[in-house]
Symmetry: none
Subunit: 226 residues, 2 copies
Amino acid sequence: MNVLLVEDEPRVADFIDRGLRAENHGVTVASSGSEGVDLAKSGEFDVIVLDLMLPDMHGYDVCQRLRLQGDHTPILMLTAMDALEDKIKGLKTGADDYLTKPFDFDELLARMEALVRRSHNFTPSSNILQVADLVLDRELLEVRRGVDTIKLTAKELAILELLISAPGRVFSRTRILNQVWGYSEDPLTNVVDVYIARLRRKIDKPGRDPLLETVRGHGYRLKAPS
Amino acid sequence: MNVLLVEDEPRVADFIDRGLRAENHGVTVASSGSEGVDLAKSGEFDVIVLDLMLPDMHGYDVCQRLRLQGDHTPILMLTAMDALEDKIKGLKTGADDYLTKPFDFDELLARMEALVRRSHNFTPSSNILQVADLVLDRELLEVRRGVDTIKLTAKELAILELLISAPGRVFSRTRILNQVWGYSEDPLTNVVDVYIARLRRKIDKPGRDPLLETVRGHGYRLKAPS
DNA sequence: CGCGACGATGAAAAATTCATGATGGGGACG
DNA sequence: CGTCCCCATCATGAATTTTTCATCGTCGCG
């Protein structure tokens, strides 16, 4: 079995590395997120063990990036804390399983093997995000609501991408401004409002179930799948 | 280690039961959800292995009910399919881990032991705050009382967030004013009273057990979990 | 039992927050 | 160089929240 280990802490990396080799698995270590993403491109790994805390980017980003590239290699996340949010976020960004530090090496092994076993049965294709009948294909950069294809401008798409990445979750205007426009301040503009209105016009055509909700006093969100 | 196994399918139950006993663990089998909840009350178990598909109620309900009763025994869920939704929902209702059928018995064992080990260290905190059947999800900015979702305005939410952060503790009007409004003085207003009244109207609907208490001469508090 | 302080609450007024149409700049492309 | 599309800002009106104010209720104590 061929394992890609993305972990920047030498001690931890070493520990896992040696353990896996002892089990006759092939191991490649990446000590940063970007290195991990690059190495993963070769597509030769059976499973990726991914630490959440990396020097250059967060584990979620690595995960998300891989999935966006159409890579479906099973990912086992190592979370530092036992935070529910981390687990959920991990699963949502495309991880297949998580493991909380500190962990038994045997457990790591067991889960890895389980993942690989499972992934050989069927490969769930993703890269397609979806809420209700609203579908965003990040590969084709295409948006559909039901059978209708919707044409979005760059900014509109960026907002939708952000919102759909965590359905149900509320995003503040500031947050959206940050992610989509890259501003770090300027609360004197209402661009976000304007663009939300445009998105609405395209996505929530009258008669349809409204998906794009305003949460007064907080921001906007995409309706969570019930 | 003492295990409560909630599983109605005799074949699966038997398989796990025998395996665990072989490992010298104590096992009690419940073949329905309500039986499981009852048995759990004894509080003598180190971990609960919970099947999702039960004859009388869904695994989520069992899970939720236990958590509502203030039971924090680690729960390992057995999900039939590899559905992301199930995993997320499971975690949200208070499960600590999940396992997809079919699974290796060794994996079950490893995860169980990991859970128990972990739970002896510390109890996981999350973004979900709860008093009795009142739940505040800080991520979704959503409040529920039992099954009903409650819509709160920003200020109402802020107050509830403060109160629920320390159930049972009394918060003076001044304190609330400080935290929620950021005022550092001005004891000439009764906004706090007004908002408490509104919160009451939404949260403590007539017929329900009142959670929001007035402590005359001191302030307000959320009833502590008994 | 009656009084006074404290708290509850309805309703009006004020303020905030949003939605959206109109306007004009600017860049890409032919 | 003109046209088209995208982007950002502004202004306005509507919806909702927040605050204030007045009144009424209730609790505790003498």
